[in-house]
């Protein structure tokens, strides 16, 4: 039973993190490899504030700071890097590749800063780890923190999925994903949409940074990269462009990993995500929920 809770928490974290990768990818064809680095940056800023500068922060305050940092960081990336690349590129394919490389370059910056300051030593994001209350659930224990992780992550993704489906702005986003040029002819501003999408993506990175940093009790400069690779797996398995698929993919991956860890010696756990990517892409390239009609050349 405890393993079920572990899988639930892990799946929630994956879904919150992968949401920030899947949203820009599905709507604007932007693969933001800097997402893991922004995740780290938000946690790192909390560390600088609460441990180095000794500003007393509790968890909700730290979350607010992290979300703000994430939103600003992703906005900056969109304005300075992605928008410029799109303007100067002759076609979409070239722009895609350049944005990927550009995001890789950006990713190096927060990691370099974090390494300079922490020297690679793990760091806490709050002055003291929060002791959240435990509850009994069918013979296993679950803490308040774990409950809030599950609730927030799933809630955000579900809310976003509903928003994209039913709201006017959401429809605009879907229109851009199908064909940006026609969408702009219909009056949907691509630059505003991309700013919104990147802002949401950055905000979720910040929230994930704080939640995960508290759950694990500390982060280190490599924490973002490992999650990044898992995030890809989640998006690919669930299907690019589908937020419900994201949830399914995240929990499928989490369950898969927990099962592998519990039943084998644990050395193959990382391989689960990559094997899933290959299997899904070969058998069902659009993922479980992906749109079959979109032509992506």
């Amino acid at each position: 039973m405890q393993q079920v809770i572990n899988a639930a928490v892990l799946g929630s974290i994956y879904s919150l993190f992968a949401f920030g990768i899947g949203l820009p990818w599905g709507t604007m064809n932007v693969l933001n490899l800097a997402h893991g680095s922004i995740f780290l940056l938000c946690g790192f800023i909390c560390y600088v504030l609460s441990v180095k500068a000794r500003v007393p922060l509790n968890l909700p305050e730290a979350a607010a700071v992290a979300i703000a940092v994430g939103v600003c960081a992703d906005w900056l990336i969109e304005l300075i890097v992605f928008r410029q690349i799109r303007r100067r590129s002759s076609n979409d394919g070239e722009a895609q590749l350049l944005m990927v490389i550009g995001s890789v370059g950006i990713a190096g910056i927060p990691i370099a800063i974090a390494n300079n300051v922490t020297g690679g030593v793990p760091f806490m994001i709050l002055q003291q780890p929060t002791h959240s209350r435990e509850h009994e659930l069918f013979g296993a224990s679950i803490s308040n923190l774990e409950i809030s992780i599950i609730a927030l992550s799933v809630g955000i993704v579900v809310a976003a999925a509903l928003w994209v489906r039913f709201s006017r702005h959401g429809r605009g986003l879907r229109a851009i994903a199908v064909d940006p040029e026609i969408a702009s002819l219909m009056g949907i501003s691509r630059s505003r949409a991309s700013a919104i999408v990147m802002g949401i993506s950055g905000g979720t990175a910040g929230l994930a940074g704080v939640l995960f940093g508290e759950y694990l009790a500390s982060l280190q400069s490599t924490s973002g990269e490992d999650l990044l690779l898992k995030g890809f797996a989640v998006v690919v398995v669930g299907g690019v462009g589908s937020l419900w698929g994201l949830l399914v993919g995240a929990f499928a991956l989490a369950v898969g990993e927990v099962v592998v860890t519990a039943t084998t010696s644990g050395v193959w756990t990382d391989g689960v995500s990559f094997a899933l990517i290959i299997v899904i892409l070969l058998l069902r390239p659009n993922g479980i929920f992906g749109r079959a009609t979109v032509d992506r050349t």
Binding site: Q3, N6, V121, M124, F212, Y215, Q220, G266
Partner: protein
């Protein structure tokens, strides 16, 4: 008719677009030449920017006035903190040796080269160090150490490593490693476990770290010797951030005691997970726990016990002097990385003194003999070095109050 100057050029009547084709072909034909020219240019440029080499004294059978040493380590990048502790220990040792005239008329100078944590940069720096320095102190991370060792072995450079515990490092007679192997400390840790009277043990370890895997296997095989039952293990990868499922698997064994063989932030997470699960039995660990807990000062890991090769203030006189000197100079408590580095420099100096020469072959031989009969250092008063590897008794250390304390 007068020929105007411009009419003499026949090409001027050709349209511009036709000019484009020859220009293109010209360019692609000349590009391979340009490529070769580029190669030569860069090599010359790099030649101008690197300093001329000077060979160390080769024929004298006494020590020169200035002896040059170099430390190649990742002072920036991931792992920079440990390289900095090492640098501090070395600086202190060099100052002490020079001011106490340990080498009578000779003084040491240590250059610090930054490999930025990259094995290829470390390899490059190592090959540049050949012939320039008497002794090379290698990088502390295993990946860079394994890259550097073959180069220094091929060129027979007297080399000293600290940390760098993987195989593929002690590959030749001119290389010594002055950090005792963690696996040699397992018996002492298990003795402590026996003293807690815990009846059973389960182990969690990082499977991509061979040292930790070996320690886990040792804990399995030594179960009967130290009177506990080995229940099972859970393995994770050092890159895994969320280890909760492995921990659940571990706790499902219902062990009386747990062994933690993890690196980095995983140690801190484990502390929180265990306290969340209300596990209050004894927890034994390994040196990696110190590195993982240092930055976080996690109080949930209080009581974790392991054997380390050193912990401030140490037990012998040299140790205590070192600790107070370090605190005075750097305003911080020294760590085992600094202590190992301090000992490493003194060891090299002792070898130089015994060899009374900077000839590589003689220094190599001295590196072996100094440790053969016991060396008095901070890590212990009777440290042995056999086949390049150091052995010591170690200290039992417990994590309390945000730091380690010696308990045995």
């Amino acid at each position: 008719m007068l020929d105007s100057p411009t009419a003499t050029k026949p090409q001027s009547s050709v349209s511009p677009t036709a000019l484009a084709v020859p220009a293109r072909n010209r360019k692609s034909k000349s590009l391979p030449l340009g490529f070769i020219a580029g190669v030569i240019a860069v090599l010359l440029l790099a030649a101008c920017s690197s300093s001329a080499s000077n060979s160390t004294s080769s024929s004298s059978s006494s020590l020169p006035k200035a002896i040059k040493l170099v430390n190649i380590d990742g002072l920036t990048g991931a792992g920079a903190a440990y390289a900095t502790y090492i640098k501090q220990g070395m600086q202190l040792a060099v100052d002490d040796i020079n001011s106490s005239h340990y080498l009578t008329h000779s003084s040491l100078s240590m250059t610090f080269e930054d490999s930025t944590g990259s094995p290829s940069t470390a390899a490059s720096l190592a090959s540049q160090a050949v012939g320039k320095y008497t002794v090379v102190f290698g990088p502390n991370d295993s990946g860079s150490a394994v890259a550097v060792a073959p180069i220094l072995a091929r060129n027979n450079v007297p080399t000293v490593f600290t940390q760098a515990g993987s195989p593929g490092v002690l590959i030749a007679k001119n290389i010594v490693r002055l950090t005792p192997l963690q696996t040699s400390f397992v018996p002492k840790t298990l003795q402590y476990l026996e003293s807690t009277k815990a009846k059973s043990l389960a182990v969690i370890y990082d499977s991509d770290y061979p040292t930790l895997m070996d320690e886990a296997n040792d804990m399995k095989s030594m179960a009967s010797k130290y009177n506990y039952k080995y229940l099972g293990s859970a393995a994770v990868l050092s890159t895994t951030s969320d280890i909760s499922s492995a921990v659940s698997k571990l706790l499902a064994f219902h062990p009386a005691a747990i062994a933690v063989l993890l690196v980095g932030a995983q140690n801190s997470s484990l502390g929180s997970l265990l306290s969340q699960a209300n596990f209050h039995g004894p927890v034994i660990s390994a040196e990696g726990a110190l590195a993982g807990l240092l930055g976080s000062k996690n109080s949930e890991a209080n009581g974790w016990t392991w054997t380390a090769d050193w912990n401030p203030p140490g037990t012998n006189q040299k140790s205590k002097i070192f600790t107070s000197q370090f605190e005075a100079k750097f305003h911080a408590t020294p760590t085992l990385w600094s202590a190992e580095a301090y000992d490493a420099v003194y060891y090299a100096a002792a070898a130089l003194k015994a060899a009374n020469s900077t000839v590589a072959a003689k220094v190599d031989a001295a590196l072996a003999t100094v440790g053969a009969n016991g060396f008095n250092g901070i890590l212990g008063s009777h440290l042995l070095v056999r086949n390049g590897q150091e052995y010591s008794n170690g200290f039992l250390v417990r994590w309390e109050n945000g730091g380690g304390t010696i308990v045995g």
